[in-house]
């Protein structure tokens, strides 16, 4: 199925893929965390695995701090940083329960982790050490950084907006505008708002500015649904990734499809072919020329046999990612 503009990565993880993240500066480096307990660094240009390091349990998320340092956490509740030049591990700290998300906020120069222990912790990446623990009302399922603001999605469909410069109080408490469990939140590169996806085939576009004029612009739409024999099959929307230049975004669902959306004209720009299994994670690279697609069964329907986990790298064009100017 893979065409000339797309190829599969060699030496991929041996179990489900939990996250793919591109390097913030170099276009070809991709970090991949997996349920096999590893974090791998790929050079997608030459399609080789550059490095691999191990956690004691499955890894749920990873992030670049700078081009030479990766941070990762998972079921062992340990936060690790790895020097990609010297191949050395440092355990930075721990949560009380598995770590679900790891992100970096360049504006405030802080690493952020979210965990099922109902807390978000900040970490100073230079020392590195803990820089604060902030209790959330529920288990943290997803988080995203928009400038100096942090958007946290928890169980119970709650969304909390924190100001990373002043973590003394929650800036905004919201309820997800979608009816079902929050799967993923990603902030617009222009820091105006965020996109939230739910477990039942729906995506919401939300804005951070609480003024009524801006709030009027928010909307939600259905996607990742397939009609078969008169029954609409509704799939979870697991992954969102923004194109850093055009502010368009890609969504990936358990139906195996990847869609690219233009949030300003409320249009779908394109849909790729169907991948062998659920889309677990998506990542555009920093200049928006490539999209990493992790097709990996997420055990959303129990422990059943499933296609092999794989990462596809797809060259994307402006035609696929740029909003049509009307």
């Amino acid at each position: 199925m893979t065409g000339s503009n797309e190829y599969k990565l060699n030496q991929g993880p041996e179990d489900s893929i939990s996250a793919v993240k591109f390097s913030p500066s170099a276009t070809q480096f991709l970090l991949v965390s997996s349920w096999d307990g590893t974090v791998r660094l790929f050079d997608v240009g030459s399609n080789t695995m550059r490095m691999k390091y191990q956690h004691s349990a499955p890894v749920l998320d990873c992030a670049f701090y700078d081009p030479t340092h990766s941070w990762s956490g998972g079921l062992d509740a340990q936060l690790k940083t790895h020097d990609l030049n010297t191949d050395q591990d440092t355990i930075v700290g721990t949560h009380d329960a598995p770590i679900r998300c790891v992100e970096y906020c360049p504006e405030v120069n802080v690493m952020v982790t979210g965990s099922w222990d109902r807390s978000v912790r900040l970490w100073d990446p230079r020392t590195p050490c803990n820089a604060g623990t902030f209790t959330q009302p529920e288990k943290v399922y997803t988080l995203s950084v928009a400038g100096d603001r942090l958007i946290v999605g928890t169980a119970g469909r709650r969304v909390l907006v924190w100001d990373l410069r002043n973590m003394g109080y929650v800036q905004q408490r919201r309820e997800s505008s979608l009816k079902y469990q929050t799967r993923c939140i990603r902030a617009f590169p222009n820091k105006q708002g965020y996109v939230l996806s739910s477990i039942e085939g729906r995506v919401a576009v939300e804005y951070l500015d609480p003024s009524q004029e801006v709030q009027k612009k928010k909307y939600a739409f259905k996607c990742h649904r397939l009609k078969e024999e008169g029954i609409e099959h509704v799939y979870p929307v697991n992954a969102i990734s923004f194109h850093s230049i055009h502010n368009t975004f890609a969504t990936g669902g358990s139906d195996g499809f990847v869609n690219i959306w233009d949030p300003f004209n409320k249009k779908r720009l394109c849909q790729f072919h169907r991948y062998p299994t659920s889309i677990a994670s998506l990542a555009f690279n920093n200049d928006g020329t490539m999209l990493a697609i992790a097709a990996s069964y997420m055990h959303e329907r129990g422990d059943i046999s499933h296609p092999e986990d794989a990462i596809f790298i797809r060259q994307v064009t402006d035609a696929e990612t740029k909003p049509k100017s009307t």
């Binding site: 329960a97 222990d117 358990s254 139906d255 055990h299 959303e300």
Partner: protein, 425 residues
Amino acid sequence: MAEGGDVEWELSKENIQPLRRGRAISALHHALSQQQDGLSSAINQQRQAFESELRMYDGDDPLDVWDRYIKWTEQTFPQGGKESNLATILEQVVTRFTEGNKYYDDPRYVELWIKFAENCPEPLDIYRYMQAQGIGVTQTSLYIAWSEEYENQGNCRKADLVYQEGFKKCAEPHDKLLQFHKALQARVSRQVMMNVEEDDSDDEPKEPQRVSLADLKSRGKKKAIAPINRVGSAIRSIPGGIQSHGASVLGNASNSKLVVFDENKTRAGPSEPKLESWAAPPTSKAKENEQKPGIWCDVKMPQKSKFGHTVMAPPPPKPTFQPFVEESDQPPTMTPCKINPAVNSVLSARKPCREETPLKRLQEHHQQQKEAESGKLHEQSMYCKELLLSGATEFCFEELRAERYFKKVTQEVKGEKDPANATPN
């Protein structure tokens, strides 16, 4: 007796909800000391453990986990309240096992239903629903709870009828039913006796007692001792009667407006137990305040005059004098404060929530199941929805998978420690 911990529980007595079976004092101490500073992570971890056990359980008695979870919740959250999630868990468990009547006669299940009913605004509806569905109809505990509810509402006749129904259904254990029924009869008869006794004592020639707070003094030259408010037989217009219980104890005409309901008067004959079958769910919650919201300022209470008709208070007359105002006095200047009205307003108004009772939800659940069975579903969720939502809090796929992973790891560790028991795999 007097341990150090006792003081703590004495201090927060009012925050502890009574339990039928009582509380373990150690659990209470533990819970109270833990809850000094919000929900501790230990409680969250225990709850998470229960939640995952609910989902991972694959034995043939899933109710057991729920039962333990609920008992733990009751002991850990002595003050009840929202964060205990008790109401949610109870609703989940009773709804969950209505499918297939495996547990309908299980004392634990019936006990959970009763707890659920006690948490509902209208417990009687729930009991009637249980009866209509055949849940716990052979269990004594249902009839006891049901009867006690009637008794609390002051309806002893219905309370008795509930026991009759229990006898008809041969509820088990029979001794207990008999015992509680006797106790009810004893209470009722004692009550009747008490009423009669009161009247008897009224009949006896006693010194008239005064109701007024102060002694009546004689005025002027007259040495009159009248009129006084007196109680007792001396002022009874009908001497030696048991006719009027309760009413006119205060024997004063002006107080007779207050009519005390007397159930003994409404003797409607021994009709058959009207344990009607379940027809429709109750429509609304018991609301305390049914007044429509409106503007509060400039609204005056209509006042009753002495003569009983409504009068509006006359507008206050304008003062005829000029109030003195100091020349230097100026209206206090407000601190300039930039309030952006857009920012202060809520992001989106809460949608008008439907009037929902637990029972209504139960019935909706039934409806949905029927639809699902008959294949009328238009949408199908492509993930293990049941598993994610089956507890009081939701889980995500990764959490479920993590549970399976941890289970596997602990099994492997056990296997390594004890290679004799390890399965050759």
